[in-house]
């Protein structure tokens, strides 16, 4: 088959921080979709497995400190100098050339956790425990996603299993390119505030491409030059100011920390 006939996409996401209420639906939907086991009794926010995590951020003492934004942080699918890829000793991380999705293969992963130290967005989780489901709950696992074993790193892959199914569906009709509606990640699908837009950034007419191009949209830590494919948008400029970490802000941060 000729790869050229397959459209190369650049899947990306825009998250509207003015809509997000931090309800956590996306986190649960994500965990259920990807067969992430429930926490062990001694798991903490620092040892838990969350492919997507919603952080709270307020505008800090220099402003009123009363305005709060909830920030869903998932793998930012860095498009350039992707920090995790270069460091993995055995090619367990790579960019899917046809979708731009940064893939992590737990079956190849050695569990050295170098990629976690490399990731500025803390978007990766390590399996500190053997996966364990309460009796009977393992029957409710998503058959399209293989559970990970102890001792490996995992992260968001834009619900790649859903892309698999969308492609299979298209293939059955003899098509190579999928219907955008057939491929929607679980978090986007579940968001009660409809704060997330997902799609192909290459397709200039897509909602996501337009939203990403909009003035109010921005990326986190853009100066690292990793060119995330996950964008955020907000009309509150204190959020944009903090997201674009500058020498000035880093100093004021330090002041108040």
């Amino acid at each position: 088959m000729d790869p050229k006939s397959e459209k190369t996409a650049r899947y990306g996401m825009v998250i509207d921080l003015d809509r997000c209420t931090g309800c956590g639906a996306c986190m649960v939907a994500c965990a259920v979709e990807h067969n992430v086991p429930p926490a062990e009794s001694s798991a903490t926010p620092r040892t838990g497995i969350t492919w997507l995590r919603v952080y709270g951020m307020d505008n800090g003492p220099e402003d009123s400190g009363r305005d709060t934004a909830y920030i869903p942080m998932l793998c930012q699918q860095c498009g350039h100098d992707t920090p995790c890829i270069a460091v993995c000793p055995q090619n367990a991380v790579d960019v899917d050339p046809t979708t731009g999705i940064v893939g992590q293969v737990p079956q190849r992963c050695l569990g050295c956790r170098y990629c976690m130290t490399a990731c500025p967005y803390h978007a990766r989780s390590f399996n500190w425990w053997d996966p364990h489901w309460p009796a009977g709950m393992e029957k409710t696992l998503n058959p399209d996603v293989s559970p990970r074993m102890r001792g490996v790193v995992e992260k968001c892959n834009f619900c790649h299993a859903r892309l698999h199914q969308a492609k299979a569906k298209a293939a059955l009709e003899g098509k190579r390119d999928i219907k955008p509606a057939d491929y929607v990640p679980a978090c986007v699908e579940s968001c009660p505030a409809r704060a997330m837009v997902f799609g192909d950034l290459n397709d200039a007419s897509s909602d996501v491409a337009l939203a990403a191009a909009a003035a109010a949209s921005f990326q986190f830590l853009p100066r690292l030059g990793t060119e995330p494919k996950v964008y955020y948008r907000s009309d509150r400029d204190w959020i944009r100011r903090k997201a674009d970490h500058t020498v000035h802000s880093s100093l004021t941060e330090a002041e108040h920390r």
């Binding site: 956590g24 639906a25 926490a39 798991a43 040892t47 309460p134």
Partner: protein, 724 residues
């Protein structure tokens, strides 16, 4: 070279065979296979290879009634999503709902009748044959006689308005001293108050959110699970376009308060004062409805009362600036606007006078019965008109001999201490909950009902909705062996009870009766989840067809709100003594003495201490800091240091009612001297799923005379010892 084998010979042989093995597949394939073994990790559960199918149902975790679309493999659901364009759910589910399909496998699931050894924390719960348990309950029931009157056989219905509720009431009507108790849901708080204020008793109302522009909420968790989440989220996310504006009057830096455009952080327990203060400004600046004299009966008295609540006074008492009080009053006077009183899922309802004072604002602003305000709602066809149910605080202490707690979740907590106060020492508590919640752990008998999505259930009108709705929750799991349908429980119980002669309907019949009544009314239309089509009820010839549509996952919606009849209200239903109670507030509430702090419990709807959530919600409660685990204590950093506490410390809180262990979380937005303690899910405990801790913070909250427990005082200090 003799025949004797020397060590050297053996070495040569070994060396040779080593060479031979190396040139065979053995070592290499073993290496490969060992790697494959680590890659598919046989310890992981195998995945299903059965075909994938879709199933439609309705969520019953709270009264919201969101539509569910379930993806199943081999008939077992593995993921839930909100049914697209569902009229009630709006195509979304909350965090708890998304994991609803796992509730049937909850580690704290009870699948056999049990009896408890006592009512103390950590009492031993041992299995008991169901018939035996019911016989024992029946024996107590029969043993009741006029001698130990006044006594009551009470049932708490955590989800009133169901067909099942009616069956409960019928049953209770036949047993001596039968008492039907409800725990109203938060959305009702304002509406029930308005009902009491209304001249026509059977006045049912709903909030017309969709149209309203300004929502003033007194501590209602509007953005954290209120009404049907889909609807609220829809309104919220469109606010940039519609100009919807949320003003939150809340002492706690709740998510709603933090996100609201305006956050009035008032001192704990000063809601009444603030409400009256707003009334003052409204009347002073003549912002009230023009026909106020006609729609109210005691405007004069009210005006006289609020005259005392001028902004400077109110500001001094509430800690809200004079300007923002006036500003708020003016904002809500710009209609369409709504004022709602909140009930915290764990902190419980506001005191009576607060609820009236807040509800009165709606009357004052003339939002009653008008578009975008609080509009009258048609009753659900077939819903029997019954006298208002008792609320728990109206029951005399120690009068209940048998207390039956319905298993359904209202999403709101009741402190066990409140119930305990009402139950007679020799009385028996029966829990029908399928899960070992703290409340269940405290019961004497447990007759577990089938779990969420195991039983054909119904979900009618979401609280606060302007139009009624009705849908069936189709089971997605088979009923687990050993659990008992509440109907069967009633049937078995009445069989062993002398007096009770009612016939308990079958579940199917019970629900069909409702459906038939709706169909008979000929009102409304049915939404079909499969294709999102709408079907007029009139278009459905037979009741059977209607029933068919419902059981396919259809959701019936009534046509628009009822014609609003003009109703007149009393702004001070309590009359003079209510007025005096309010005036008493002006003298200011006594601040807790020296070492102790004001404690306010808080929770998330459906995820309070008494409601178990799926273990996967550990993602938001335990594995991230998004929401607070049970026993998280929010303090102002200053307060914390003054008690020698730091962020992350474990501390003990103590008062007359009890002692509890908390984990300190410092938050600059908390008012000094106040501690907000989470009553929420506990951390997963895979090691000992059966074990149940205390009731958490609610065990410290002694319900007051007015039946509220949202405020209490306790001492806090660094915890010693390691036990949590």
């Amino acid at each position: 070279m003799g025949p004797t084998i020397t060590r050297r010979d053996l070495l040569r042989l070994a060396g040779g065979s080593a060479l031979g093995v190396i040139f065979s597949p053995l070592p290499w394939k073993l290496l490969d296979d060992s790697a494959i073994w680590t890659q598919n990790w046989s310890l992981n559960p195998p995945l299903s290879h059965a075909p994938i199918s879709l199933a439609y149902s309705t969520c019953t975790l709270c009264p919201g009634g969101c539509g569910i679309t379930a993806r199943c493999t081999g008939g077992v659901p593995f993921s839930l999503t909100g049914t697209k364009s569902h009229p009630v759910g709006r195509g979304v589910l909350c965090a708890a709902g998304l994991a609803g399909h796992q509730m049937a496998m909850h580690p704290l699931r009870i699948v056999q009748a049990c009896a408890s050894s006592g009512r103390s924390v950590g009492a031993v719960i041992s299995p008991l044959e169901r018939e035996k348990a019911i016989a024992a309950i029946g024996a107590i029931l029969n043993g009741l006689s006029a001698r130990d009157a006044p006594h009551s056989v009470a049932l708490i219905d955590r989800r009133p308005g169901r067909a099942l509720s009616a069956v409960y009431r019928n049953f209770l009507s036949t047993v001596p001293g039968g008492l039907y108790i409800v725990s109203p849901s938060a959305e009702d708080a304002t509406l029930t108050t308005l009902q009491q204020m209304a001249a026509t008793p059977a006045w049912i109302g709903g909030f017309d959110f969709e149209q309203t522009r300004t929502l003033l909420s007194f501590g209602a968790p509007v953005l954290e699970g209120w009404g049907s989440p889909g609807q609220v989220m829809d309104i919220w996310s469109k606010r940039a376009r519609t100009g919807f504006r949320l003003i939150q009057a809340d002492s706690r830096p709740s998510r709603t308060a933090r996100l609201a455009q305006t956050w009035l952080q008032l001192r704990p327990g000063t809601e009444t004062i603030l409400a009256l203060g707003l009334g003052h400004v409204i009347i002073r600046e003549n912002l009230h409805a023009h026909d106020i004299k006609r729609t109210t009966r005691d405007f004069a008295e009210y005006a006289r009362l609020v005259a005392r609540f001028d902004p400077p006074t109110v500001s001094a008492l509430c800690g809200v600036s004079k300007e923002s009080i006036e500003e708020t009053a003016r904002t809500i006077a710009r209609r369409p606007s709504l004022v709602v009183a909140g009930t915290d899922p764990a902190g419980g309802p506001l005191p009576n006078e607060a609820r009236t004072a807040i509800a009165a604002l709606n009357v004052l602003l003339g939002t009653m019965g008008t578009r975008a305000g609080i509009v009258a709602r048609n009753p659900l066809p077939g819903e029997p008109v019954m006298p208002p149910a008792t609320t728990i605080d109206q029951v005399p202490d120690q009068s209940i001999r048998i207390l039956i707690i319905d298993g359904a979740e209202s999403g709101y907590d009741i402190p066990v201490s409140l119930l305990r106060k009402k139950v007679h020492p020799q009385g028996a508590i029966v829990s029908l909950s399928p899960l070992l919640t703290p409340m269940t752990a405290w019961a004497d008998y447990i007759i577990p009902a089938p779990a969420h999505l195991e039983l054909l259930e119904e979900i009618s009108t979401a609280p606060g909705a302007v139009t009624c709705s009705y849908a069936l929750a189709r089971p997605l799991h088979p009923v687990r062996e050993g659990s008992t349908d509440p109907l069967d429980f009633l049937r078995l119980l009445s069989a062993v009870t002398a007096g009770a002669a009612t016939t308990i309907p079958t579940r199917d019949a019970m629900l069909r009766a409702r459906a038939d009544a709706i169909h008979a009314s000929g009102r409304g239309k049915v939404f079909m989840p499969q294709d999102g089509a709408w079907i007029e009820v009139k278009g459905l010839a037979t009741t059977e067809q209607f029933w068919q549509k419902l059981s396919e996952g259809g959701c019936w919606i009534d046509d628009g709100p009822a014609q609003s009849r003009s109703v007149s209200f009393s702004l001070l239903p309590g009359g003079n003594d209510e007025a005096t109670r309010c005036l008493a507030l002006l003298s200011g509430s006594e601040t807790p003495e020296g070492s102790s702090v004001t404690v306010m419990p808080y929770g998330v709807r459906g995820a309070t201490a008494s409601a178990q959530v799926s273990p996967i919600l550990s993602k938001i409660f335990q594995e991230s800091n998004l929401k607070d685990l049970d026993g998280t204590a929010l303090l102002h950093p200053g307060t914390a240091t003054s008690y020698g506490l730091a962020d992350g410390d474990s501390a003990t809180m103590h008062n007359g009612a009890g002692t509890m262990r908390v984990v300190v979380r410092c938050d600059g937005a908390v008012l000094p001297g106040v501690v907000h303690v989470a009553a929420g899910p506990r951390r997963n405990n895979s090691d000992a799923p059966g074990c149940v801790g205390g009731e958490g913070i609610l065990s410290l909250c002694e319900p007051g005379s007015d039946g509220t427990w949202r405020l209490t005082t306790a001492t806090i200090g660094k915890a010693h010892g390691s036990e949590i």
